[in-house]
Amino acid sequence: MELGVTDHTASVETEPQAGDRAPGAPLLELRDVRVAFRHGGRRLVAVDGLSYTVAPGRTLALIGESGSGKTVSSRAVLGLLPPTATVSGSIRFEGEELVGLSERQMRRHRGASIAMVFQDPTRSLNPTMRIGAQITEAIRVHQKLDGKAAKARAIELLKLVRLPAAEQRFVEYPHQLSGGMRQRVVIAIALAASPKLLIADEATTALDVTTQAQIMELLRDLQRKLGMAMVMISHDLGLAASFADEVVVMYAGRAVEQAPTRTLFANVRMPYTKALLEAIPRIERPPHQPLPVVPGRPPDLAALPAGCPFAPRCPSARDLCRESAPPFGEGEPGHRWACWYPCGSDGAAPA
């Protein structure tokens, strides 16, 4: 049942493999990535100067509200943006530049070395096809296997994602499965080609807490077994705290704070991150205490304010914040933030 990490390498085209590269080299490296859309004659910058790296086997969390650019930036990695989008900057996967690749070249990576799992498993699966057919289809796109071998591999994958009664589920349709089971099938399909990087876009948001815990545990376990790296997109800082090695907080298309998970949560610098953390209802807190909130909502990306995009809502904004945008600099080793007046100097960072 155990899957080898190298299973797929023979079937993928003869590209340089990870083994040929310097150890410790990042698997995925984004540098100054910018994604702009043309929208009704206006230009809308959805991602502005995003940079991060993910090492093999590690987990990076992209955190932010709707419209913060976390999903758009990840779709840019897979070349899944509509033709109205322009991507600039550099996205390197195993050293190879992905920006500017043709659709045909991109397909070599998409689903093979980089796979993606979306929020709603119902929409990722074809309701008219049996589970087995959907997963063997994914396997045979990437590997030249006959029907029997593909089926064996499919059942192996379904067992790997701990789908109960895998052989029986193989002949069932998506509607016969629960939400959690469907998401397991979607993950099995994503793993079909033993990807080196899995992008999980709110993969557990639609699930119950108990199922969410199971799926996150499964993903962590698979990562360890397969040495797979993960980019986890979420609005839930709690989930990031539990599962990510590094966290990037995004606001209005920009990274506003970035650090290894422990560093970030021990020492929040950006008022936006602090606001996000404080606004989460906590089970340790007694009922009926008003939540600290920031007023307003994220700015319209087509009409960004001058200066810091968070300034209009920020409790500690001053004149400078409204005049010029703070640089996204490394304020402390490994910890970057974009803020002129970072919090925490008074040690008031929430735990």
Partner: protein
């Protein structure tokens, strides 16, 4: 609003809701036991939270309370009047003091209507006041939910953000001066900062208008934030019911313990539940629920008795009741 402190605003007595599932050719395929013998009370000014997984029957319970559809059996008393016995105009009038707010605000607002018309509609439906009076009421409730009527009144739903649309849905619910608002995952689709704004709005309205809430959500922390008491549902039955503080601090039902352990903490230093402690599998089908205790198939402490005898909801602490033959010893629940 009315009545003294001792009479419940709303009381459910042994409410049962079932649906027949049809198989091929319309033959009876089975009966979904969506809500099985649930009894609970909501006092005036009180918020009762209901938590549970998908399929636990929490939304069906809410709809049964509203008589939409009427429960299969049991009674629903609103200020002492049994709603299950009412029909037509009498039912509509009684139901006026219970309003509902749903998860997707855009799904509950007609996209072609303007905000002021959307909020006025329930007033027209109930024939309340003159047009001028209704318009005054619309402005009043829009103000109450934090939307400037002169700015937002003429807008249509697509010109609103998710949080603003949910505020309109809340204003609609408030227009008829209800005593109870049933919130079914009412903030679950909102971003965390907007969610906090709406949660604070609910709290403010509770204080200002003396409202009661039935607050349904799958997020345990969210429910605790607004609730005085919390009910935990599993597969159509109440597993545990108690004061919010006590229930979260000293859960008695193994299911509540499992739910609480599944909540990810926004503190990376927090101890993580070991994999074997996390609850496994999916809930069984409500068409053919397990005999005895419905949770026993996933319960780490299940014994023979659990398969034979249905555990009754019994009070163990102050107002704290549990339906379990072997409730969790309180010390071990905390000693992790």
């Amino acid at each position: 609003m009315s009545s003294n402190g001792s009479q419940p605003l709303l009381e459910a007595r042994n409410v049962v809701q079932e649906f027949v599932v049809r198989g091929r050719g319309g033959v009876k395929g089975g009966v979904v036991q969506a809500v099985s013998d649930v009894s609970l009370k909501v006092m005036p000014g009180e918020t009762l939270g209901i938590v549970g997984e998908t399929g636990s029957g929490k939304s069906t319970l809410a709809r049964s309370l509203l008589q939409a559809p009427k429960p299969k059996s049991g009674q629903v008393l609103l200020r002492g009047t049994d709603l299950t016995g009412l029909k037509g105009r009498d039912l509509l009038d009684a139901r006026r003091s219970m309003q509902m707010v749903f998860q997707d605000p855009f799904g509950s607002l007609d996209p072609k209507w303007r905000v002021e018309d959307l909020v006025e509609e329930p007033l027209i439906a109930y024939g309340v006041g003159s047009r001028t009076e209704r318009r005054r009421k619309v402005r009043e409730v829009l103000d109450l939910v934090g939307l400037d009527p002169s700015v937002y009144g003429r807008r249509r739903p697509r010109q609103l953000s998710g949080g603003q649309a949910q505020r309109v849905a809340i204003a609609r619910a408030l227009a008829l001066d209800p005593a109870l608002i049933i919130c079914d995952e009412a903030v679950s689709s909102l971003d965390v900062l907007i969610q906090a704004q709406v949660l604070n709005l609910f709290e403010r309205l509770r204080a200002e208008l003396g409202l009661s809430y039935l607050f349904i959500a799958h997020d345990l922390a969210l429910v605790k934030q607004v609730s005085d008491r919390v009910a935990v549902m599993y597969l159509g039955k109440l597993a545990e019911l108690g004061p919010a503080e006590a229930l979260y601090r000293e859960p008695l039902h193994p299911y509540t313990v499992a739910l609480l352990r599944s909540v990810p903490s926004p503190d990376p230093e927090a101890p993580k539940a070991a994999a074997e402690e996390a609850i496994s599998g999916d809930p069984p089908s409500p068409i053919d629920p397990p005999s005895g205790c419905r949770f026993r198939t996933r319960c780490p402490h299940a014994q023979e008795r659990c398969a034979v005898e249905v555990p009754e909801l019994r009070e163990l602490g102050t107002q704290h009741a549990v339906a379990c033959h072997f409730p969790v010893v309180q010390r071990s629940a905390n000693g992790r």
